[in-house]
């Protein structure tokens, strides 16, 4: 058994690509080894900013021997055919065997392929891996024709302690690697992974990214606790920073508390996104503290003093910029920004951002009527100011804080909390896991924003197709669904869409789609199904309810829910079976007769007790179900249907539908049609599976 160690040493690999690269290296190499028939115990991969490493344990010395027999031409075939066969099989005439089979006598060749040394396979597989590595972006360098994420500098490849014989585009695989770029740049030889990991550690490189992340977390914890501070473990940032250093050295720095006047969101953004710093908090108040942690890649001779000082100066300059924007923005009012929205094109066919704001205003006011507790004036005001921060200096510099800044500026100019919060929240929810607004004014403006987007882009025929959804319309539709259903808002989607269409019409925007709803209702239906499927709801139940043509999402889901519970009971299962039986018989007979049976049953023609009982039960159930539906008591409508179970079962037990008497038969088929109609008042049971 042999162990394989590969290290592809390069210039700095972007942090965001490292994790996937380690996975890809492991997969490409082990797939190649497996394909050649090699087995192994495990193949862990590692990555640092400068190296991709793979260790494959427990490989055999060679691939298995293969012996196979190949049938050649018949013995009476022309000589040319035989020559071709021998050439292809790599055998000579004396190695052939003649054997008689049903169709004649044939030549047979026995081919023995001895196993190949593992090293040969490794060399081939590694070369193919390097040449075909799936980097998101790769480059050439110098005069080399190879492509890698950044220039490749060395290939280490050792099997069982010795370098594998491999040369790729000028690189000859060896048993050497290099230490930390600054602290231990010299090269050294290694024999196996244990030796490699230890010697790297001695040369100031932690090869395992998880260990680097742990070291960073531990370092931050001790620095913060010394100062009586706490930090929130930020897994994403931890992983990214672990991808920026080979030898993590966390250092704590501070900034002028005067900058704390700037909203926390901006401070965090500056520290985290631009500088990759970890933020700290005061454990008692939970407020941001004026200390940060940066992770250096080196131990300096002054214990990090200059590194800390430099980072503090950089941060201070950035925060001074942010504070300047904040102060500048606060000198004016949000309302002063509105004129500038006239200069920003929202979409060439859909007008300026100012046009969009005008539409959102009218839409938010209309929607307020449907949202319990929503003040229409506040909704309109929030919509008016919702986009005003886009032209603030702060949002121009930090687009990520759009909405958040609007809230601060709204509060500063004395808007109500409801208005200010709605400005912040109106972009939400941004996806299935984002928080969905619940405050009435926020819901109104958030709905108005999404509806305006959907109606606009559907109207000019920019609907999503396949994987293309450049305006994120699927996300907008999901947001509408979540806002409505999670807040129990009762409104007709068609009415809401109409309101959107009206606001575009008021601005004389030319629309290309001439249909009543621009195809939006069907789109909402599809998105609802996708969303409910993700939540574990059966799509056939949604179809069954959707077939009823409702456009009130809350009611639709109420019905789906009741239907699901009902079908979970014995009554439900049996009723569905009875319904299917009735529908199937009808389908067959209707096809045979070339007609469609209506539910116009003649009471006078009913003779058997079971059909009379069923007829009466159907009448009562249909009436009860309709009344219950009217009251949106979906459970009661299901209960009404459940009374049909026994009469339907008895009917099929005792009554022959296809009676000899044609009139009688037609009446009984009409009775089946009545079952179908009565059950379908609640949902289209024909769409339900099972």
């Amino acid at each position: 058994m042999a162990d394989l160690l590969i290290e592809l040493f390069s210039e700095e690999i972007p942090a965001r690509m490292q994790t996937q690269a380690a996975r890809d290296l492991s997969k490409l190499v082990t797939d190649g080894l497996k394909e050649a028939g090699l087995t192994f115990d495990e193949a862990p991969a590692f990555v640092t900013p400068r190296r991709l490493t793979l260790c494959v344990n427990g490989l055999p010395d060679k691939t298995p021997d293969i012996s196979e027999e190949r049938r050649g031409p018949r013995t009476d075939a022309p000589e040319k055919a035989l020559e071709g066969f021998m050439r292809g099989a790599g055998v000579t005439r004396d190695q052939l065997e003649e054997r008689e089979e049903k169709k004649g006598t044939f030549f047979f060749a026995k081919i023995e392929k001895p196993g190949r040394p593992t090293g040969d396979v490794v060399a081939e597989v590694l070369e193919a891996t390097i040449r075909n590595f799936p980097w998101p972006k790769s480059q050439r360098w110098g005069s080399s024709s190879l492509k890698w994420v950044r220039p490749l500098r060395n290939i280490l490849c050792i099997l069982d302690g010795a370098a594998v014989d491999l040369t790729v585009d000028g690189f000859t695989a060896n048993n050497k690697t290099f230490g930390h770029r600054f602290m231990a740049p010299e090269w050294f030889e290694v024999t196996d992974f244990a030796d490699y990991e230890q010697k790297l550690l001695d040369h100031k490189v932690i090869v395992n990214a998880d260990k680097r992340a742990d070291a960073i977390a531990a370092g931050i914890s001790s620095l913060t606790s010394e100062k009586g501070l706490e930090w929130v473990e930020d897994k994403g940032l931890l992983r990214e920073v672990a991808g920026l250093v080979e030898w993590p050295v966390p250092l704590m720095g501070s900034f002028d508390p005067a900058f704390m006047a700037v909203p926390e969101e901006v401070l965090i953004l500056t520290m985290k996104k631009d500088q990759k710093y970890f933020v700290t908090r005061n454990p008692e108040t939970g407020d941001l503290a004026p200390y940060f942690i940066t992770v250096a890649n080196t131990e300096t001779v002054d214990g990090g003093a200059m590194v800390r000082d430099g980072n503090e100066r950089v941060l201070s300059a950035r925060l001074a910029d942010a504070k300047f924007f904040w102060d500048q923005d606060l000198k004016g009012r949000l309302d002063d920004n509105l004129a500038a929205l006239d200069d920003i094109v929202f979409h060439i066919e859909l007008g300026k951002v100012s046009d969009r704001v005008a539409r959102m205003k009218s839409l938010a006011r209309k929607l307020a009527d449907f949202i319990p507790g929503c003040d229409a004036t506040e909704a309109e005001r929030a919509a008016e100011l919702a986009k005003a921060d886009l032209v603030s200096q702060m949002v121009y510099e930090f687009p990520e804080v759009q909405g958040v800044m609007g809230r601060y500026y709204a509060k500063a100019q004395g808007e109500t909390d409801a208005v200010a919060d709605a400005i912040r929240d109106h972009y939400a929810p941004a996806g299935p896991s984002d928080t969905c607004p619940t405050a009435p004014v926020s819901v109104a403006v958030a709905l108005a924003e999404k509806l305006d987007t959907l109606v606009g882009f559907f109207g000019i025929d920019q609907k999503p197709t396949g994987s293309k959804d450049p305006y994120a319309l699927r996300r907008a539709a999901l947001a509408v669904i979540r806002l409505i259903t999670e807040n129990g808002i009762r409104l007709s989607l068609q009415d809401a869409v109409n309101a959107g269409i009206a606001s575009f019409a008021a601005q004389s925007v030319a629309m290309k789609d001439t249909s009543q709803d621009f195809g939006l209702l069907a789109f909402f239906g599809d998105r609802l199904k996708v969303q409910q499927r993700d939540l574990g709801v059966r799509h056939d139940l949604i179809d069954a309810v959707f077939a009823k043509g409702d456009d009130d999402l809350v009611r639709i889901l109420g019905r789906v829910d009741a239907l699901g519970s009902f079908l979970g009971t014995d009554d439900g299962v049996n009723l569905l079976a009875g319904y299917k039986r009735a529908a199937n018989i009808l389908k067959i007979e209707e096809k045979k007769d070339g007609t469609e049976y209506g539910a116009d049953v003649s009471a006078a023609l009913l003779s058997q007790e079971e059909e009379i009982t069923l007829f009466e039960a159907l009448g009562a159930a249909e009436t009860d179900a309709l009344v219950a539906l009217e009251q949106e008591n979906f459970e009661a409508s299901m209960t009404a249907l459940s009374t049909l179970r026994a009469p339907i079962d008895a009917f099929f037990d005792k009554v022959t539908v296809n009676a000899d008497d044609a009139v009688l038969r037609a009446n009984r088929l009409a009775l089946l049609a009545k079952i179908r109609a009565a059950v379908n008042t609640v949902a289209d049971f024909g769409q339900i599976e099972g």
């Binding site: 210039e11 700095e12 972007p14 942090a15 965001r16 900013p49 972006k137 790769s138 480059q139 050439r140 360098w141 110098g142 005069s143 994420v149 950044r150 220039p151 500098r153 600054f182 920026l244 500088q275 940066t294 250096a296 890649n297 080196t298 300096t300 001779v301 002054d302 200059m306 590194v307 000082d309 430099g310 980072n311 100066r313 950089v314 941060l315 201070s316 300059a317 910029d321 094109v345 060439i348």
Partner: protein, 293 residues
């Protein structure tokens, strides 16, 4: 360096002189700034055109850069409409280019035993030059001090061999080295002159010109003329003067942009026009030097 005080760091002009000496020692041709207005040192034909073709080429130079929209009338401590880049191009990019680069930082007083250097992903693309490359921004103690790029394409043409390009933002670098927060406070020569003494008034007046006084009618005319002249020169197979017209068109566009007379939609069209000129120059240049397209 004896003239530099230990606490204040190297004066602005000594940084330039030191970088020039350093790269001259590495075998670079030391050029003087190109005598035309341009937005970045990359526009210099010593980079753009010389990055094409098979011949090796190593050069370093200071290039004044003009970015009219970044003007702040001398009131912003960091932003300038006129500033300096130090540009190095090494073709083909040598194997030890990172080490050479770090050596240049050492030469201007940034000691690796005292500072934390980092290569942070930053890919470069110039839509106006039809060029792109991969590389990093280089951080020193969290501060970006250089751009480092391996050119892959210029003028839409594959670079073979690949050039390595280094761009030092000299003012920022000097501010870092000297520990100064306001660019105008930089020690320019170690003998009493500050950056403000040399350039503050220029920033004020040029900002006023860029934003208020530049004659846009004339600029539109200039753009068109440069475009036409470039096409004419390309037809005559004179890519070097043609490329100067391309530089002129690019800078004229930047001035028009600063005057706010180019709409968002027109912007793309203008960038496309400059790119077409750049592409034409690159193709003709390559043909002229006998390299293959």
């Amino acid at each position: 360096m004896a003239s530099v005080s230990a606490t204040k760091g190297m004066p602005f002009q000594n940084i330039i002189l030191t970088l020039q000496d350093y790269w001259a020692d590495q075998g670079c041709v030391i050029l003087q700034p190109y005598d035309m207005e341009m937005g970045a040192g990359t526009f210099h034909p010593a980079t753009t055109l010389r990055a094409l073709g098979p011949d090796s080429w190593n050069a370093a130079y200071v290039q004044p850069c003009r970015r009219p929209t970044d003007g702040r009338y001398g009131e912003n401590p960091m932003r300038l409409q006129h500033y300096y880049q130090f540009q190095v191009i090494l073709k083909p990019s040598p194997e030890n280019m990172q080490e050479l680069y770090l050596g240049s930082l050492e030469a201007i007083g940034l000691d690796k035993n005292l500072h934390d250097f980092r290569f942070v992903e930053d890919d470069w693309e110039s839509p106006t030059l039809g060029a792109w490359g991969l590389g990093w921004e280089v951080w020193c103690d969290g501060m970006e001090v250089s751009q480092y790029t391996y050119f892959q394409q210029v003028g839409g043409i594959e670079c073979k061999p690949v050039s390595g390009e280094l761009t030092y933002g000299l003012e920022r670098l000097a501010m870092f080295v000297q520990g100064v927060d306001n660019v105008y406070d930089l020690d320019f020569n170690g003998a009493g002159a500050s950056y403000g003494d040399v350039y503050l008034e220029n920033e004020r007046q040029q900002s006023a010109y860029n934003f208020e006084h530049a004659n846009t009618e004339k600029l539109f005319r200039d753009f068109k003329e440069a475009q036409e002249e470039c096409a004419k020169l390309l037809a005559a197979e004179l890519p070097l003067p043609a490329y100067e017209q391309c530089i002129r068109a690019s800078h004229t566009f930047n001035l028009l942009d600063a005057r706010g007379v180019i709409s968002v939609t027109e912007r793309q069209a203008y960038i496309g026009r400059v790119r077409d000129l750049a592409k034409g120059c690159c193709e003709t240049y390559l043909k002229k030097i006998g390299g293959e397209e």
